[in-house]
Symmetry: C2
């Protein structure tokens, strides 16, 4: 069985848990406490040199890290990755946006709020982090609300269908308030969150 | 013809320029000075809501942003993306690693060095940025030098062949010294840089 190295509060870990559950792929979850440095041990780094969860290990020893690459691997031939080549690139576009312009702000603000005494030099930059988080939400709101190409509201991020791009951005957006980001002024995002949550076999972030 | 919105010093822009050149795909380059805010105009944001280069626009009006997603789009059916599904996920793994753990440090340190008077709140965190940049180089060195899965040195990041994962990580690694990062202690990276540079139709980052 697939072994998923995970940390329950992690939105990145949640992406993989949610995807595997929705695809009915069984997995064994191995909880690692990142606060206690469990992903920086010699053993873990020997397997996963970037020292981060989520990471997966197969029975034959193959390994893969980076949440969005793991999702791509399991979903590539399913309905959760668009068939059309251009839509596929667009799904990746939103997944790279998530890791570059969204997660480093929205996830980090939440991490600071969840661990107020954890020492982290980046904490001094929190006002800028919050501002950048709202910028990322603004890009999503514009896109979902119908800005940019075309001018019709969008049910999902890519191709009018639920995909791994939605899972990637749902993971930290739906808990953005835990980091102090208020979604009151983002109605298109709030409607989209409800649509993602209503998909078959959805699980909450708290479910291991 | 494809229009590529670009900024010559950008490693992210360079990835797309290099790839299109190696694939012999003609493109028109539109230079935007990010320092002067040319990617934050109403017109540009109307087309590309994330306000970043590189971004491409096709004759039929379709648009795509995020350097690594653009590369995937043009390369998906070429020899620059692995045929094997697992190797394909591994290519994405390194591309997500690049955008999350590498570019935000190595590119940002270089940006600060190139624009010493440009106001940026993140500049106070430069020592941490440099440290995180070296961590990313350490992960690459371990992988290329033969650490992790298997224990043989690797010619390229994925599957023993030059791919878009190499382009993604070459872009800022080969100019890391411009941001003050010294590759002296990273021999596997230096040999890999030379291999990437020797690929057919390679162009330097200074070539538009």
């Amino acid at each position: 069985m697939i072994r998923l190295y995970d940390y329950l509060p992690s939105g990145n870990g949640y992406k993989v848990r949610l995807l595997l559950t929705q695809l009915k792929i069984p997995f064994e979850r191995i909880e690692l406490d990142i606060i206690k440095g469990s992903t920086r041990t010699r053993e873990f780094l020997g397997k996963f040199p970037n020292g981060r969860i989520p990471a997966v290990e197969f029975d034959d020893g193959r390994r893969l890290f980076e949440s969005n690459a793991i999702m791509w691997h399991f979903a590539e031939t399913t309905a959760l990755v668009p068939k059309d080549p251009f839509e596929r690139a667009r799904a990746l576009q939103w997944m790279f946006f998530e890791q570059y312009s969204h997660e480093p702000y929205i996830a980090v603000a939440r991490f600071f709020a969840m661990h107020p005494s954890y020492p982290d030099e980046r904490r001094a930059g929190l006002p800028r982090i919050i501002r950048s988080g709202y910028e990322a939400l603004g890009v999503m709101e514009l896109h979902l609300g119908g800005g940019g190409e075309g001018d019709h509201p969008r049910e999902f991020l890519v191709g009018g269908k639920y995909s791994i791009a939605d899972i990637a951005l749902y993971a930290y957006t739906h808990v953005a308030h835990e980091g102090g980001l208020d979604l009151a002024n983002y109605p298109a995002i709030r409607e989209w969150l409800a649509r993602v949550k209503s998909q078959p076999r959805h699980i909450p972030i708290t479910q291991g």
